[in-house]
């Protein structure tokens, strides 16, 4: 597999209903993440997109794991190794966010028993930077050639 494998840019709206569902799923009780009035009183134009939800939004791609299939990797052998976020601006419900991803690096450890993919994603809103994500994926139990 070649590094720098790019996934086509993908634009998705952050939706209020989805953000409320996410807040419920992670047990978030702070009302600014589910109640529009509370969010506005705290100075937000709409419900804030919480710190890790940018990772989730990219899962809305039609086939979010296709980059693994293209690299010949079985989803059942994949573990999440690391996840990093660098934030440039807050995102809120109603924002249209664009995700551009590529595989920045790939390497092996333990004589090929573990294979690592480093995937970088740039998130922008109308061309302005919102966040940079780095996702390190570990492929286990695969004797890589």
């Amino acid at each position: 597999m070649t590094a720098d494998l790019r996934t086509p840019a993908f634009t998705v709206p952050a939706e209020r209903g989805r953000l409320r569902f996410f807040a419920q799923a992670i047990g978030e009780h702070d009302p600014i993440y589910s109640d529009l009035d509370a969010a506005r009183k705290a100075g937000h134009p709409d419900l804030p997109v919480p710190p890790t939800f940018l990772f989730c939004l990219e899962m809305d791609r039609p086939d979010p794991f296709s980059f693994l299939a293209e690299a010949g990797i079985d989803l059942a052998r994949v573990l999440h190794g690391e996840q990093r976020f660098t934030y440039h601006a807050m995102a809120h419900a109603g924002d249209e966010l664009t995700f551009e991803s590529h595989i920045a690096d790939t390497y092996e450890k333990k004589g090929g028993a573990l294979r690592f993919l480093v995937r970088e994603t740039r998130v922008t809103r109308a061309g302005e930077p919102v966040a940079d994500l780095t996702n390190v994926i570990v492929v286990r139990g695969e004797a890589a050639a």
Partner: protein
């Protein structure tokens, strides 16, 4: 919300204890997050892959740890947030999120706290370790 002027090296964040993770939690998280990887929600798929059971999404624990941060400072102050997933969180695991200030630094014209973060289960297993940079001024 705490007083940002009182934050110093060694300051501990109030720990966040999360209820035991049920299969319902995993189903809801799969739906809300959009991560439909069957290894987290489908026992048949997990067993076919040689696992004894489904296990929690790593990003669910990272979301809990994110709650620790946003419960401590307004989210717009978080400059960066990263974790390493150290161990799988089994069904019925009960995570506790903790954090501690390890440095106060100046960068890009603001004062920032560097935090060490951790999620551990009740048996002591550390499932996530991480770091965050938070603006204080």
């Amino acid at each position: 919300m705490n007083n940002l002027h009182d934050i110093a090296v060694g300051t501990e964040l109030p720990p966040l204890r999360v209820p035991s993770i049920s299969r319902t939690t995993l189903a809801l998280y799969a739906g809300a997050s959009g991560d439909h990887n069957p290894m987290h929600i489908d026992l048949d798929a997990a067993r076919a892959a040689g696992m004894d059971d489904v296990f929690a999404h790593g990003m669910l624990s990272m979301a809990y740890l994110g709650r620790l941060l946003t419960g401590w400072v307004p989210q717009e102050r978080i400059r960066s947030y990263s974790v390493r997933f150290a161990a799988i969180t089994p069904v019925h695991g009960q995570p506790t999120c903790t954090g501690r200030v390890t440095a106060i630094e100046e960068a890009d014209g603001e004062r920032r706290a560097r935090l060490d973060l951790r999620v551990a289960l009740e048996d002591g297993t550390v499932t996530l370790t991480g770091q965050a940079l938070v603006a204080l001024t």
